[in-house]
């Protein structure tokens, strides 16, 4: 099971560190870009204001 099955060099792995920070402005833009690919309804939900305000 642990025998090498793929000898192609892929480069060295890095260690991804945990991150609990809210998305930055760049992250919010990326979310909006992703949600546009899903549909306008999804964008509306992401950007929803509170009802009654």
């Amino acid at each position: 099971m642990n025998e090498k099955i793929d000898k192609k060099p892929r480069g060295k792995a890095i260690v991804i560190e945990a991150d609990t920070e809210p998305p930055t402005a760049k992250g919010i833009k990326a979310m909006q870009d992703l949600v546009r690919r899903v549909g306008l309804g999804a964008l509306g939900m992401l950007e929803a204001e509170t009802y009654g305000d």
């Binding site: 792995a13 991804i16 920070e21 690919r37 509306g44 992401l46």
Partner: protein, 196 residues
């Protein structure tokens, strides 16, 4: 076109005031899942064809994970403006697990223990976390409101025995309902949770 979030009912409303059903919201999450799955599969393919190296694969997968989980959680909470610091901490907790899995996969790839097909399929499988992020935050939103009861609706044609068992209970207290992803079918769970 503007959609609003009604915190009294934990429901979205259209500009005309009509409630958007949880099933409609779930369809949005399912579409998000499909888009993210395609993107992650493409990253796996790029790694196997030499288009990107392992480090770039990890960095791009990390970005996809963070963006998709943040988006799904925000939609589960009623929009990103409803998200508190505590909510972002919960998202971070879910991401931490995904990053650990990604680190493990990457170490296996580096050692040559994973085939091309496995790399592509395992990369695409990270997209299942989108649903977990959504339901995790939906449960927080519902318990912060008036809801006390929850029921599980099985959607998968090949759902696991544990999901079927909990679905058969009908309405039960929210705290007794295992979260999506906690049962046998794990991240592949396609159940719907309804609250009242």
């Amino acid at each position: 076109m503007a959609i609003k979030y009604d915190p009294k009912t934990n429901r979205y409303r259209t500009a005309g005031g009509r409630f958007i059903s949880p099933r409609e919201v779930r369809k949005t999450i399912d579409k998000t899942f499909e888009v993210v799955k395609k993107d992650m599969r493409a990253l796996g393919e790029a790694l196997t064809t030499g288009g990107i190296d392992l480090r770039t694969f990890q960095t791009l997968m990390r970005e996809k994970l963070k963006i998709s989980h943040s988006l799904a959680a925000s939609i589960g909470r009623g929009g990103r403006r409803q998200m508190s610091l505590s909510d972002w901490g919960k998202v971070g907790g879910g991401l931490k697990k995904q990053y650990a899995y990604l680190n493990n996969l990457s170490a296996q790839i580096e050692k040559g223990l994973v085939s091309d097909v496995q790399i592509i399929n395992r990369a695409a499988a990270y997209s299942h976390g989108v649903r977990l992020a959504y339901y995790g935050m939906t449960t927080i939103a519902e318990t912060a409101g008036d809801a006390t009861m929850c029921r599980r609706i099985v959607n998968s044609k090949e759902g696991c025995a544990e999901c079927a068992e909990y679905a058969a209970f009908g309405w039960i207290p929210i705290e007794e309902m295992p979260e999506i992803g906690e049962l046998q079918c794990s991240v592949f769970c396609a159940c719907l949770l309804e609250f009242r």
